[in-house]
Symmetry: C2
Subunit: 210 residues, 2 copies
């Protein structure tokens, strides 16, 4: 980050969080040492430990830092009063792709998986503070459509399985095969996204034929 302006207190914390988020994304959790983080921030390790009690706490701060933006975006969509339930669901799914593929939180998902195995605390907080609220917001939109008669009645866990699965895998794939030079050929975001959204909506509106 490099200290170029007068930034003190909380600003410094945010700076550290953003810098270390980049490093975590680039080199993984274990691949990112406190020394490297300190160096990238232009301070020493000791100073870094003054701001964060340890590596685990710093990582949690990085993840948490990204929650809010993603959740408020979804919240905003869920609260719109103009559009139909279908349009809102489409917008919500697009937002999920945007979040998981492009934002730091989303791109960190493979990392969060890695760290969650080591620290169950991280797993629990990630689930209750991010996944559950996110699914609750999405469910509000779906449920509204169901009561509307727009959507078929569906099982909650089942539909989330089908919605989040492809999104998460795409994010995971793009991270793990980031070294491929034909990455976008193998994993074209927009194309896969649009097909997925159409499939989901096709399913939710389909007349039962079984």
């Amino acid at each position: 980050m490099q200290v170029t302006e007068e930034n003190s207190g909380a600003d410094r914390r945010v700076g550290i969080i953003e810098t270390s988020t980049e490093l975590f994304l680039k080199n993984g959790y274990s691949g990112t040492s406190m020394s490297k983080i300190a160096a990238a921030c232009g301070i020493t390790k000791a100073s870094l430990y003054h701001h964060f009690a340890g590596k685990e706490e710093l990582f949690v701060a990085c993840v948490t830092h990204g929650y809010s933006a993603a959740l408020v975006a979804l919240e905003e969509i869920a609260s719109r009063s103009g559009p139909t339930a279908e349009d809102k669901l489409r917008a919500a799914l697009s937002a999920l792709y945007e979040t998981i593929i492009s934002s730091p939180v989303g791109r960190m998902s493979p990392l969060i998986a890695e760290v969650s195995r080591m620290f169950p605390t991280v797993a629990r907080s990630f689930h209750t503070e991010y996944i559950e609220p996110q699914q609750a917001l999405l469910w509000r939109i779906i449920d509204q459509g169901v009561e509307n008669g727009t959507f078929l009645k569906v099982d909650e866990r089942q539909i989330f399985h089908l919605i989040f699965g492809p999104i998460v895998m795409l994010s995971l794939s793009r991270e793990m095969f980031a070294s491929f030079d034909d990455l976008d050929t193998h994993f074209p975001v927009l194309q896969l996204r649009d097909g997925h959204i159409d499939a989901i909506l096709g399913m939710m509106k389909a007349k039962s034929d079984a």
Copy 2:
């Protein structure tokens, strides 16, 4: 593994691979040191390095070791001549769930993601030696159904996005939230699997309504 019988040469290698696979699954890649592996195998580090040139090579051996069983299972299904394309696809998808959720290879997917970021070589070999053959086999089944007239014509990448997404995410979720005591409530394999398979087949057989 502990040496209880006369096992020499290649047997010893396999023993090490199986032991270290367990450790990798339990503690992650960075969380598993060569010392711990050696100790668990009842040998010293130096002996371990006699069998494997390094940690990375050992890990690749673990992953590769699991390929074959999974691929031959799928190969067997694709080559059946009796059942309809639909039944074969159902069997193949069930097998994929079985592989990814229960077998070491599948359960290692979060790990493979972690290691692939660090070693592009691993990413490349995993893709060409496992993912591509697997998708080719699955495509053979689908394509047969399409020529049959059983299935609609679908885009290859698109359908793989919808098929593998939920499976991979389920595997990832179950690993990262393994510490939850209500794991099976949140992520019930059989139920999610059956719903997913029905959804895929419903989609592939659906009359176009768009």
